[in-house]
């Protein structure tokens, strides 16, 4: 108490406090964030939905720009639907001025099948908060479909019946389908590969398909512009049939010694497994780094050089499994447009 020094802090602290309070009153006071009136004001459609063209050739790089204007920012969904096949592209946003790149369509699809040349599409815009205010565009004719991504390597689109497909199955498998088919609309084109049947003895494995690099790319192994397994993506449309316990395994067989043949007991197989629990077409995409070495003894679980190498993939296998491991278990799926892309997943 008898030390006078600490009393200096009282006026010093008070001055500091007053100074900073004064500084605080000089702050920029412009409101932060978008204006509330712009979001929660009265909703009106100021400009109905239109598009900048009525025919589009996506193969020539053309796009469709959708245009509309609203009085407020609100969540909207633009659905572009094929009149012929039901293919759909969904674009969502909350802007009030819809033009330019806000709702530009480059021919890609959200729900397969893909959009093809000769199809007619119409777009509709719905509002989550105003369900009675849906508006529609004019009909648009597609004269050219969207090309494969640059650098993409097609494994198979199952349209070319001259391509070599190696089908195989479990001996007691009651096989109803394991081949190119067209029972229902393909994801792209007219055909796809269809596997369907009944596991009669609970053996898990049902049937499979093998496609080599030679038959797909004409090279001994798949050749990519990068050896980075993070940048090489595998993509494929898979049609779920709604059958329980259906599992798809995609095997990537590596020719570790680059002698042109694959020996399952000595060379590695890396696989990706996914339950097919949906109905209809969906796209499946994953980088090669997401695969794991096979755990089946004698079937690729030993890697000759101990490394996962994207530049040594000699063949792909698509395996249908019955996950239940029980007899009288019907399982199946369709496969279409299997391809590798570089740097990211395929955006059809």
């Amino acid at each position: 108490m008898n030390n006078w020094k600490h009393y200096l802090l009282v006026p010093f602290g008070s001055l500091l406090l007053l100074g900073v309070i004064g500084l605080g009153s000089c702050r920029e006071l412009a409101p932060e964030g978008p204006e509330l009136e712009d979001i929660f004001g009265e909703f009106q459609i100021l400009r109905p939905l239109t598009q900048d063209r009525t025919t589009v050739d996506f193969s020539a790089g053309e796009t469709v720009e959708f245009i509309a204007e609203l009085s407020v920012r609100t969540d909207w969904t633009l659905t572009i639907r094929s009149i012929e096949t039901g293919a759909r592209k969904i674009i969502q946003g909350n802007e009030k001025l819809i033009m330019g790149d806000v709702a530009r369509w480059n021919g890609s699809v959200t729900f397969a099948p893909l959009f093809s040349a000769g199809e007619h599409v119409v777009a509709s815009m719905q509002f989550a908060a105003f369900p009675d205010s849906t508006m529609f565009s004019d009909t648009i004719l597609i004269t050219g479909s969207r090309p494969l991504p640059e650098g993409g390597i097609l494994v198979s689109d199952f349209e070319n019946l001259d391509q070599v497909f190696e089908a195989f199955s479990e001996f007691s498998f009651e096989e109803t389908n394991n081949g190119v088919d067209s029972l229902f609309p393909a994801a792209i084109g007219d055909k796809y590969w269809y596997m369907f049947g009944r596991d009669n003895n609970g053996s898990v494995f049902v049937c499979g398909l093998r496609i080599t690099a030679t038959s797909a790319q004409g090279t001994p192994v798949f050749e990519f512009p990068t050896e980075n397994e993070e940048k090489v993506w595998f993509n494929m449309f898979v049609f779920g049939t709604g059958t329980a316990n259906t599992v798809l395994v995609i095997d990537f067989q590596e020719d570790d010694n680059l002698n042109g043949t694959y020996v399952a007991s000595q060379e590695g197989t890396y696989n990706y497994q996914v339950p097919i629990d949906w109905n209809g077409w969906r796209i499946l995409s994953f980088p090669y780094s997401a695969t794991a070495i096979s755990t089946n003894g004698g079937l690729g679980n030993v890697d000759a050089n101990g490394q996962r190498e994207v530049n040594r993939i000699i063949a792909l296998q698509f395996i249908l499994l019955s996950a239940g491991g029980q007899s009288d278990n019907s399982v199946g799926f369709g496969l279409d447009q299997a391809l590798f892309t570089i740097n990211g997943p395929y955006e059809p």
Partner: protein
Amino acid sequence: MQRNITYLTLLLGLFAGSAHAQLSNKVSFGGAGRFLLDQGRIDGELLETDTTTARRELNGLALFDFGITIRPNEDTEIKAVTRVENAIDGFWGAGITFQLRELTARGVAGEVVRYAIGDIDAALTPYTLWNSSSEFRLMRNPAFEVFRDIVDYENYYADSTWRQQGLEAEWKLDFDRGIESLTFHGLVSKNRNTDYFTLPDRLLGFARVQAVINPALTLQVQGINLFEIAESAQFNEAERAHRAGSILASTGASSSSMNWRLDVETGLSSVRYANLDEAPEEPTEDFFVDGTARLQWPEQNLQASLSYRDVGPDYRAPGAQSRRLDPNASAAAFSFYTNRETQRPVSIADVVRDRTLYNRTIAPELSNFNPSWENAQPYGQATPNRRGVHAGLNWTGDSARRMEWRGEASFLTEIRGEGTEALRRFLTLEAAGVVHLARYARWEKALDLHAGLRNQQTTRSGTQGVDDVSLGSLQAEIGLQWEIYPRLDVLGGMLFLQSSGNEYVADRDDFNRIVFYDAYDADLRETWISGGLRYRFTDNMVLSAQYFYLDRLNNLDPTTAYTLQQAVVLYNLFF
């Protein structure tokens, strides 16, 4: 009955006694043990059209944390805590897990520098590095307190510290003239691990210098930096750095009749981004100031405080603004309803009991909060965009300590409007206390009645017609502890929340900028009551059996109303 209790006491008392044992001065033990059995039942309107949600759940666990502290010499101490946990349905050891909960080496190097390596609990000031308390901590309630203690223990909440993993050092210099001492304190810890591809390492570092001029005058300067190392991820070039620093001056004086103390803290923050698309090009900078005066009258057991705070809208200090509680997390019990498609909203019962709702890490984003729970200062004292006063009064009772009460009031306003020029105003009033009824009647056993009340009002008188805000929230808590037999207590408790009105909740991007708003409307009432028995073997070892009943009604959507009944047996030990 009396004999059985005596045997049980003896058995568990021996166990506790052995836990405190030391092999020698070089080795000692500590830790915690818990056995929990939880039988729950959910009913109500929300299940009327729900055919798949299980109506009953039986969960539980047994766990044991075994801590060993070794002192190989008088300057070094090594502490390790291992955990063995087994879910109640992990039969024959099938659900057992082992983990290392804590590993720390600490000591004094060269009789000069105090250091610690490994798991470190760190804090600075409420505006730089501070783990602010979560919601619904109005008072210590005997019916709920053991669950709150478990939440804190499980999430490494010790006072206001954040658990870090790194290196800490402290060095003190004493002087014989001019000033008394200078203390240097620093820490470097790893905040996030790289994924080696696109997500870089993030580190936390701070430095503090404290100068004690004399026993009544202290100056303290600190700086903290949360930063990324771009090169630690192969395909990443981006970096973020959050820096904050402050100066804290404290002075005071004491006498037999009155003590006073004045703390003034002010500081700056700066956020910089590099090589990030859409990030602000200019650094985001702002400042804060806090002045607090405290008075104490020792003879009257009375304390009073008055504060002024101004925290800028762009003041960013992740170490002080990270939240403990995530209101959007999925509750562990009955996580989903409506045919398992809808996440059950977190209730006040989950907040008190569910350890998985809480966050253990410092993050640069201003995370989500529930306006009905806390709207004035969801990020603690360092909540940005607030200015106002706070007053507190604390009375620890007469000479017989028959009751204790505290009250607080704060009035804050925004500094900058959100989506409008109009500013929100926040008024918060709270009071809590305990009455030791047994002391009035001169009973030897305890009979304590706890009560607390908290009211928060948020208002904004808009100018656009749509920007009006009016949200009220009332929290009440009652607790009863009645010792009916030595160390055997009857427990009773109630927690109540009522909230109604409207608000707008800001959606923020990765750079904490507001990009949209969600309209928030509330007409909510939650009541949680509890009754049961507890036996205290020691102050840190209890066995309790309690029944809980939760009634939750959202009047804006009555079809989601539900009740939750839970019967819980808990054996808990800290040693």
